[in-house]
Symmetry: C2
Subunit: 415 residues, 2 copies
């Protein structure tokens, strides 16, 4: 091509890179590779038959309406169903507080679009969800970070981070991606109090909340803020914007997520969404509603929990058995991921190169760190592979780690 387009990129593209996760998905398509890299749900749990019935029903009953343009806000029966569902978990809102998005990823993009000026600070956990970094890098954000431990976000680091005046706090309280940890109730309360004290609102990202395999459900940040603001629990304070998705409970290929926010913010998000993709697929919204309604979603989530819980246990057992003692990992109570910390002198990206030769893959953790640290960490997904594959994959990975550790021990000390 002539050079008309090159050198015309906007400044913001300097921080757009191809996601390590997405690029890896391509390598790991080869059938003999056991991949812990993606964040893929198990295909075996997708309710294919129910989708077939729902497609027929939607096209029979709604006909052309299912294929026509529709409102930006989303299909009202679906929004009402989401409102009924979240009310059971103490998030009491009506359909006008809810915007349907093209996956939760779009919610992150739209939030960036309406809130982030270039140079604005956003407070994130370290590590944090890669998709949020990708969405907000495009708005030229600066990150302020707080660490994570087994109890989730380190609230003891929060106060100092809040003093920098971030626009909002981004938190993943349940079964963190990538770290697999869950924010304790005590720390949830501390987070709410500190956010209130410094006047900083919160984005609560909760894609996995339904996928708990042990322990009790913990109240959402939305609900705790309602209580803290002396709302009576049946009204929404609006300080916490809540994101979730059907990607982990029904099917990610539909691209259906949602935002719960104050109505004024929903209106602004709607305006941003009009310029972004007009609306989310009418047909997919109707089909998802048809599949989920009448109690199916609850039954289906129970069956997903059973499958994933078994896979998590298989991975934890295999880790005990095959990983060298210098390596540590989190023990998630739910979700899709588990987090591994290698000895400081190992580089997970180098381990990956060896691992791929052994036909096993994972995501090196550095991509999840906005400050480029985390070289000795890795994310393992346990939802996608069957238990036998998990055992075999962790066995291979354990071998790679042991070999790397012994070869590093033998090699001269690096400067």
């Amino acid at each position: 091509m002539k050079v008309l387009w090159t050198k015309r990129y906007a400044q913001r593209t300097q921080r757009m890179h191809s996601s390590a996760v997405r690029e890896l998905l391509k390598v790991t398509e080869q059938p003999d590779v056991i991949s812990f890299a993606g964040g893929l749900p198990a295909p075996e749990v997708f309710p294919v038959k129910e989708f077939q019935e729902a497609c027929q029903k939607v096209l029979n009953e709604h006909g052309p309406k299912a294929l026509q343009y529709s409102t930006t806000e989303g299909y009202r029966p679906l929004r009402e169903m989401i409102a009924r569902h979240t009310a059971r978990y103490g998030i009491v809102v009506d359909a006008d507080h809810i915007l349907i998005t093209s996956g939760s990823q779009q919610a992150l993009d739209l939030i960036g679009k309406i809130f982030i000026n270039p140079g604005d600070h956003v407070l994130v956990e370290k590590p944090t969800y890669l998709g949020a970094l990708q969405a907000w890098n495009a708005y030229q954000v600066e990150y302020v970070t707080v660490g994570l431990d087994d109890d989730g976000m380190r609230t003891d680091e929060l106060e100092e981070a809040l003093r920098s005046g971030p626009k909002f706090i981004y938190a993943l309280p349940n079964f963190h991606n990538p770290a697999g940890v869950t924010l304790t109730l005590e720390r949830r309360r501390q987070l709410i109090q500190l956010a209130d004290h410094y006047g900083v609102p919160i984005i609560e990202d909760d894609p996995y909340g339904q996928l708990r395999y042990e322990g009790e459900h913990l109240p959402s940040l939305v609900m705790l803020d309602n209580q803290y603001q002396a709302h009576n629990g049946a009204s929404y304070s609006g300080n916490v914007i809540y994101l979730s998705t059907f990607s982990k409970t029904l099917a990610p290929g539909l691209r259906l997520g949602w935002v719960i926010a104050p109505k004024e913010i929903i209106q602004k998000l709607v305006q941003a969404k009009q310029g972004t993709d007009l609306h989310t697929s009418t047909f997919n919204q109707m089909v998802a509603y048809e599949v989920a309604r009448g109690g199916f979603l609850d039954r289906h989530v129970r069956s997903i929990r059973a499958v994933y819980s078994e896979r998590r246990d298989a991975m934890l057992r295999a880790l005990e058995r095959y990983f060298p003692p210098e390596v540590h990992w989190t023990r998630p109570q739910g979700g899709l991921f588990l987090w591994v910390v290698l000895p400081e002198h190992l580089d997970a990206a180098q381990v990956l190169q060896e691992a791929v030769k052994e036909r096993v893959a994972f995501v090196p953790g550095r991509a999840f760190y906005p400050d480029g640290t985390g070289h000795n960490t890795m994310r393992l997904n346990f939802s996608n592979a069957a238990p036998e594959k998990i055992e075999e994959g962790i066995k291979r990975l354990g071998r790679v780690l042991k070999e790397t550790l012994s070869s590093v021990a033998l090699s001269p000390v690096k400067s």
Copy 2:
């Protein structure tokens, strides 16, 4: 809510407003209103039966794969089909030049994201597609405009506009939305030559190219640029990025569009799309491919042309019959819209208020003017209503216009 979120909006939201078109769609949902306002395809032409069959086939043959995450670039068989299809119209590219987007609207957003810095100039027609303005306002663009007449973009105004150094030219050569006009072959060549002379690339937006009701297909700007650059017609110069969609030929409710661009730019768009919605619905891409393949799309487009051509003719006849002689309109050779110019002293927004009382609606043209002019223009859609409704609606609108003209003639002159 507490005021934590308010006053935190990004600067760019100052130029985000709710679209007049979308807001009107809500008013016009009442069944007794005859609406020429939206840009809706006729629901009668949607191939509902073929969609039912395709949904079954996709879920039977691909099973869980149709519901799983997939690559950002899009479903390869669909991209290959698009490449085969556009090759017939002289746009010879391969699948790697094509990105599937969540409707053509998303292509506009992603292009804004990767190319527009705040304050950059973009050259648009006046009037131009509202969705492009909505997409790019969010990137704080400045517009340079050239007028339109019955032969499309006024290339005699182009040279001066190009001297301001716009980042790119945005053109809708076929059956313009909103103006209904088509850029003549001579002007297409002038546009290509001037763009080359000033080194400014072009976005060619072509949602309606397939929907021609009379006259001969004109070569695309992509093809003309290939020729001008002395490429042999079988290679792609890359100066013109081409956008199109299945919204007008299959169904808008699927949200499926595509971009044709140099591979390097496709990669950048892919990175931007990863942060925006990860990928377009796997299921919808597979279903659209299944419906469109094997020659169905061609047959279906022929039947759409027959229906819309009849509706266009019905509207043109009714305009002749019912509209006052002071009013002028375009005679589109294809597409969905026709453009009306009222006498200078009338305000189409005021006419709309009266029209809605008479249960007929349209879009006042001002929204399509980036500079806020165009007060005396209106866009009429002829694809959505049946011919009898079109006749009745234009009759009502003609009455409103005549009454407005006579009442304005009687009222004192405004300062």
